[in-house]
């Protein structure tokens, strides 16, 4: 079971703390998201969704269950059935013709659920919005975690999944991608 969290005085970790304890609706939403994520921390079922990728992201995702990475040791599993899935891992730039299939897959998953946009195409790179693609997954589905990379390596995918269930902190917020002169 999930550890008792500061977020639930009823003891149910799915409920947020009482509104008086939080400063803003944004904080309440974040606390709710985190407690949902924590529920999945020990056992998570993942469904993948290709919305138009070049197939490299899929190959890296397949390697998550390979011996070098072994997703199962973290309590994560793949499932083909959206009904059993907790997390939807979405690749590709969301081709417009794919919208309906993407929404159907997402809606077939029971709540609570998470969406992880995977790879540069899904995050707004490689393809600009045009008549063919949205260029990002975020216009069609509500995304919880964004994983950059082209393709993201299995290590980056592991990191992203662990961030999604709140087992690792997302550190990119504090990265500046700058260096002062003289370094390296």
């Amino acid at each position: 079971m999930s550890p008792a969290s500061a977020a639930g005085d009823s003891g149910n970790p799915a409920l947020p703390a009482s509104p008086a304890a939080l400063a803003s609706p944004a904080e309440a939403a974040d606390a709710l998201r985190r407690s949902v994520a924590r529920q999945f921390g020990r056992s998570l079922h993942i469904r993948t969704l290709d919305t138009g990728s070049c197939a490299a992201c899929e190959q890296e995702i397949r390697l998550l269950t390979a011996p070098h990475y072994d997703l199962h040791r973290l309590g994560f599993f793949f499932t083909p059935a959206p009904r059993h899935a907790d997390l939807l891992m979405v690749t590709g730039p969301m081709i417009r013709a794919f919208d309906i299939a993407a929404r159907k897959t997402y809606e077939a998953m029971p709540g609570p659920k998470l969406v992880v946009a995977t790879g540069a195409c899904a995050l707004g790179g490689v393809y600009q919005p045009d008549a063919f693609t949205h260029g990002t997954v975020g216009e069609t589905l509500p995304v919880d975690v964004w994983i950059p990379g082209c393709p993201p390596s299995p290590l980056a995918l592991l990191h992203g999944l662990l961030v999604a269930v709140d087992r690792l902190a997302a550190k990119v917020r504090d990265l500046t991608f700058t260096r002062s002169g003289g370094d390296r």
């Binding site: 998201r33 011996p67 070098h68 990475y69 072994d70 040791r73 540069a120 995050l123 707004g124 790179g125 490689v126 600009q128 975020g138 995304v143 919880d144 975690v145 964004w146 994983i147 950059p148 990379g149 082209c150 993201p152 390596s153 290590l155 980056a156 592991l158 990191h159 992203g160 662990l162 961030v163 999604a164 690792l168 997302a170 550190k171 990119v172 917020r173 990265l175 500046t176 991608f177 700058t178 260096r179 002062s180 002169g181 370094d183 390296r184």
Partner: protein, 112 residues
Amino acid sequence: MPLWFARGLRRGVVTTRYPARPDPSAAELPTPPAFRPDALTRELADRLSLVCPSWALTRNGDVLIFDAGACTACGRCREAAPGAVTASGEFELAATDPAHLVKRIPLLGEGP
């Protein structure tokens, strides 16, 4: 299947210890750029924006906007300006908010 069992035992464990321990293979992965603000002129920023094939770089006034989510770590910006751009070495880039992936890099000389 004794054949496979014996082979498996002989093979040993290859599984990564990540996240408990860093994985050495990460050192060879391509990574997004790190910029030297003291080497980035407006002109260089414009040139880098054109060189990037993935729309990860745009100049807005005196700031170079870098979208680490759109970045494919292709290295073209690094090749165009090796003195101003190096590899960041970062691969743990997952974000819970897309805004956290967009960085504003100040350009040389001009005010904030």
